[in-house]
């Protein structure tokens, strides 16, 4: 038996990285102190294990900071029917997931930064093959020069790869969204892979108390995977050559599947609440936006800092709201139009940079709001390369935004302040 494959022996589950006194986790005790990576690894493992009565689970695993603990956790998990293959590159990690998914297994992996960049060719392939693979993208700055801290540029670079993209703000959001992602990706109306992003270190390596799912709950929530186009012994060539008009049809089908995601996601959230008793955010979360004159939009852990700042300003009577950007692909344009409502000023916090353009969320939101005349939309590049985005910085941004009469090119917050 391969090394490292026999650690799991049913409850209690040993989580790495915990202090000895807290190392033993009883599965039925749902709330536990865990790191983001261990919570993600644990959730992926339970999702894979939930497919044991169907065609099992497969994972191609390769280390990269700050993602490594996820694949370490998966290698230590003893699947009833599953295999975690420790491969030689991210490119092959996704290759293993593709082959395993085509043979009918529930497939998942995790990566970060340059690992995602190296994997990219097969990331596109997984989308174009219509395989419901789930990948955790632990956000880390792309290099060189080398920087291991969080920045959403690595996962956003994969935005055109026919994958759903979710951005999560916390450990709990991460766990819940992984389960939503499997449910939505595997839905016959969708059949596209999902990337679930978490902030490197801020989430991946910090501990907090999380409601972890139980296997029995995950078994109920994720039905056995039955991929309609899996290899079934027939003389069918998957992914062979295709002429232009069939390529157009293929892309249109992917777009149609993307268009069905909001509805499928809404249903997945309803079912999630029935099984787990919680209601995770869907495409986005609009908070205090009903009467807001100024709205800030952010993703990942920046949302939590922003929430504090908005609450404080609300207490002082300022009409300020926030939107947590969660689903990036498909981009829920109409949800933004509705959420922004009659606000006069909108600021976008982009912890990413598309050279020659600006923040990537900003351009997407600008496209969404093109029918709103008179709206002031300003982009702020903030926290690039993992710089701290403190309440003080957000206050400065809000002051700048409120004082504006016209928008400018994206503002480089750290450099200018």
């Amino acid at each position: 038996m391969p090394r490292g494959a026999t650690v799991w022996s049913g409850p209690p589950l040993r989580l790495r990285g915990l202090k000895p006194a807290a190392r033993r986790l009883e599965i039925h005790v749902a709330r536990e102190l865990v790191t983001g990576n261990n919570a993600a690894g644990y959730t992926l493992a339970l999702a894979g294990e939930a497919n044991r009565k169907a065609r099992g689970a497969i994972c191609g695993a390769y280390p990269i900071t700050p993602q490594t603990e996820i694949v370490e956790f998966l290698r230590d998990f003893k699947f009833t029917k599953g295999r975690v293959v420790a491969v030689e590159s991210e490119h092959s990690a996704m290759g293993v997931c593709i082959g395993g998914a085509l043979a009918g297994a529930r497939s998942f992996t995790a990566s970060s930064s340059n690992g995602l960049a190296y994997m990219t060719e097969n990331v596109f392939a997984a989308g174009y093959y219509r395989l419901p693979i789930v990948m955790i993208g632990v956000n880390r700055t792309l290099g060189p020069p080398w920087n291991i801290w969080t920045d959403q540029g690595d996962t956003l670079a994969l935005r055109d790869a026919a994958w759903l993209q979710f951005y999560t703000e916390s450990h709990q959001d991460l766990v819940d969204t992984i389960l939503l992602a499997f449910r939505v990706s595997e839905d016959p109306r969708v059949l596209l892979p999902s990337l679930v992003a978490e902030d490197g270190f801020v989430v991946s390596h910090t501990q907090t108390v999380v409601d972890l799912p139980e296997q029995e709950q995950v078994d109920r929530y994720l039905p056995p995977l039955d991929l309609p186009h899996r290899l079934r012994g027939k003389g069918v060539t998957v992914g062979g050559m295709i002429v232009p008009h069939d390529t157009e049809r293929h892309r249109m089908e992917i777009q149609a599947a993307m268009d069905r995601v909001p509805q499928v996601l809404a249903e997945a959230i309803d079912e999630f609440e029935r099984v787990f008793g919680r209601r995770p955010h869907g495409t986005l979360s609009a908070e205090h936006t009903e009467d807001a004159e100024t709205v800030l939009i952010a993703c990942n852990t920046m949302v939590r800092t922003l929430r504090t700042v908005v609450k404080r300003r609300r207490e002082r009577g300022q009409k300020i709201g926030l939107i947590k950007a969660k689903l990036f692909r498909p981009f829920p344009r109409q949800d933004y139009v509705r959420a922004i409502g009659s606000a006069k000023r909108v600021g976008v916090l982009d912890r990413n940079h598309s050279p020659g353009s600006g923040g990537i969320f900003w351009t997407e939101i600008a496209t969404s709001l093109r029918e709103k005349p008179g709206l002031l939309l300003q982009d702020y590049l903030v926290g690039l390369g993992g710089g701290d985005v403190t309440p003080a910085i957000l206050d400065e941004i809000l002051d700048d935004l409120n004082a504006r009469t016209v928008a400018s090119e994206p503002v480089w917050k750290e450099v200018l302040s």
Binding site: V85, S92, G99, L102, A103, L231, D246
Partner: protein, 300 residues
């Protein structure tokens, strides 16, 4: 006057290679795939084929010239995708054969890290490289499988470097089985495929695959060219068990190297040095004979 529709025989529709494929006349793959099918005696493998002529063979969607489940993989991914496929077959108790069918570009060049890792993990795969010593479907560029002195569209004066010894590289992984295949030696070909099929783990077969388009040779000469390559010693037929134990299947019979070279216009280059090539062949054989004497595989 009407023409009756052509209906291929049912049995051919379920084989590995269906009639009506797009292979060039004289392509080694056409023989190799049919002999593979015959050696597997009706078993229907899953093929993982990266970017190469072998995936052009299939033709365009929704038709396919492959009668068995086939995955068109990205260029470097045959062995990783096949790892996923074979792992899931195995965990579901299915004794299905997974075959990587790859060209020399995908094996000698871009896919080395992938198959090397699969070999090191001893994945249960039959990896077959049909080696036409060129990037064929891109119009004939050098690969590290291209022999010294051969003209390609990226070595217009002839290639300076000798061909990579991929068998030595594979053997260094100590995989259960590695062997060379000739499309001119049917019994030997059949036995080797059957031997590989009976084994578990990573098995590697290297087939020298004539390519009239790239080799600038006559399609009707293809089989005879490979026969000549074996007879003159350029392409030794041998097996390596466990990466250590050697068995030689055919020895040079004195056929001159020129008989192989002169029928391929790709060798008409300024850098072709027949004496040097002959010396390399002698050295290769000295090494092979030494290994087969010192570390012999059990007699057949």
């Amino acid at each position: 006057m009407t023409t009756a529709p052509v209906t291929p025989h049912e049995a051919r529709c379920d084989g590995i290679l269906r009639p009506g494929n797009t292979n060039c006349a004289g392509c080694g793959m056409s023989i190799g795939l049919q002999w593979l099918e015959q050696a597997l005696e009706g078993e229907r493998p899953t093929l993982c084929i990266p970017a190469c002529c072998g995936i052009v063979t299939a033709g365009t969607f929704p038709t396919s010239a492959y009668g068995v489940p086939t995955v068109a993989c990205t260029f470097a991914s045959a062995a990783s995708v096949a790892t996923g496929v074979s792992s899931v077959y195995a965990m579901n108790g299915e004794d299905e054969l997974t075959v990587c069918w790859t060209g020399d570009g995908g094996t000698y060049d871009i896919g080395v890290a992938t198959w090397s890792a699969a070999a090191e993990r001893n994945e249960d795969l039959l990896y077959i490289c049909y080696d036409n010593e060129i990037y064929g479907n891109t119009g004939g560029q050098r690969s590290s499988a291209t022999p010294q002195g051969v003209k390609t569209s990226t070595t217009s004066e002839g290639k300076l470097e000798p061909k990579k010894d991929i068998m030595a590289l594979v053997a260094a992984h100590r995989v259960p089985y590695a062997a060379t295949l000739s499309v001119a030696h049917r019994d030997d070909f059949m036995r080797k495929v059957k031997t590989a099929r009976q084994m578990k783990g990573f098995r590697f077969l290297l087939m020298l695959s004539p390519c009239p388009t790239g080799w600038k040779s006559e399609p009707g000469d293809s089989v005879d060219l490979i026969d000549t390559a074996v007879r003159c010693g350029l392409f030794p037929l041998y097996e390596v068990y466990g990466g250590r134990r050697y068995r030689i299947n055919a020895r040079p019979d004195g056929t001159p190297l020129e008989d192989y070279i002169k029928r391929q216009r790709r060798y008409r280059s300024a850098t072709l040095d027949l004496d040097a090539l002959q010396a390399q062949i002698r050295e290769n054989w000295a090494h092979l004979e030494t290994m087969a004497r010192a570390f012999p595989a059990p007699e057949l």
